[in-house]
Symmetry: C2
Subunit: 214 residues, 2 copies
Amino acid sequence: MFTYWAGGTGLGKSEERRQVQRAALIDAAEAAIVGRGLAGLRAREIAAAAGCALGAIYNLVADMDELTLLVGSRTLARLDIALAGAETSGPPDGTDAAASRLVAIAIAYCRFARDNLNLWRALFEHRMTEGRPVPAWAIEEHMRLFAHVAPPLRALAPSLNATELALLSRTLFAAVHGVVLLGVEQKTVAVPQEALEQQIGQLVRLFCLGLRQS
Amino acid sequence: MFTYWAGGTGLGKSEERRQVQRAALIDAAEAAIVGRGLAGLRAREIAAAAGCALGAIYNLVADMDELTLLVGSRTLARLDIALAGAETSGPPDGTDAAASRLVAIAIAYCRFARDNLNLWRALFEHRMTEGRPVPAWAIEEHMRLFAHVAPPLRALAPSLNATELALLSRTLFAAVHGVVLLGVEQKTVAVPQEALEQQIGQLVRLFCLGLRQS
C-alpha cells in the first residue's frame, strides 16, 4: 500500500537534513547568547557558524524571534530539570516540608541563573518584534515553572482558590526572581553575592510563615 | 584684599555659563532616555539637542557614564520624594503601622516605576564602561532608598543587628522590585497588571507577618 512517507523517498531525507540544519542553527544561536548575550545574536554570524547561507535561516525558522524562543525552550527544559531536582529533596509531607521545598526550589533557581547567566537573562530580556504576540507554545513552556511553585504553596494555604493560588505563585516567583536578578547582576542596591542564597532562603521562609498565619 | 574669586571677573560668568550648559545637557540626556530608553542615549544627538558641539560634552561631564548617572540622580531624587510621601501616610506607630507603611512604600515604588518607566529602567540597566567602579556619590544616592525601608523593618523586628537589618532591607527591596519589574514589563510569567498593586501588598504583608512570628 502506498503512503506519503513510504521508504527511501527524497522527502524523508530532505526533512531529516532540515532538522539537522535547524538543530545546528539553534546550537549556533545558543552559543552566541552564551558568549555575548541576547544583543550578540546576529543573523549573519549565526548563519556562518551553522554553515548555512544567510537566507537559508528563514527556511529553518520563521524569524529571529522564533530562533530566540527555541533557544529559550532549551534553557527552560534544563531549568525545569534543575527545579525538579530541588523539589524532591527534603522530607515529603507537611507544611514545614512545603516551606523547605520552596526554599530549595528558590535556591536552585538562583544557582541556575548564576551558572547560565546569559541564557537565563535572555529568557526575560527578549521582546517580540513590533509587539507581536508570544506564541502559545512558548507561553506554555514558561508556565511550567509554576508547576514547581504551586503545589507546595497549596499545601501551605489549602483554602486558596485556583485564581488566588496562581496569583500567589506568580508573586513568589517574581519576588525570588528580583532578589536573584539584582544579586547576580551585582547591582549597587543588591543583596551581596555571599549572602544571596541565605537571603533568598529567608525571604521564602518569611513568606511561608506569613502565609500559614494569614 | 585680593582673592581669586573677587567680584566681576570673567571666571564667575564662565562658570555660571558652564553650569547652565551642563543642566541643558542633562535635560537633553533625560529627554532621550524618556523617549527611547538608555539604548537611545547617543552623544551626537544629545549634543545637538543641548545646542553644544560634540566635543564640548566632555568639558561639561567626564563621560557618558557620568551623564547617565546625573540623569539617574534626578530620577532617584524624585523617587525619594515619592517614597517619603507614602511613608507618612497611615497611623504613626506600632508593628501594624510599620507593615502598612512598608505596603504603602512598595505600592508607591510600583507607581513610580510605571509612571517613569524608561528613567526607572535606566537606573538598573546602566552598566559602567569596561567594569569601571560606580562613583561613591552615585552609590550613596542609591543607598538612600533604604532610609525608607529600614526604619519600619526595625520596628517589626527590633532584635535584628545592623548587618541583619541592612540585608533584610535589601532583600525586601529586591523582592518588591522583582514583582514590579516583571509586572510593568508585562512578562509572560508576571503578575497581571490589574492585580499588581494588590499582589505587592500581599507580598509585603506576608513578609511582615512572617517577620513578627520569626
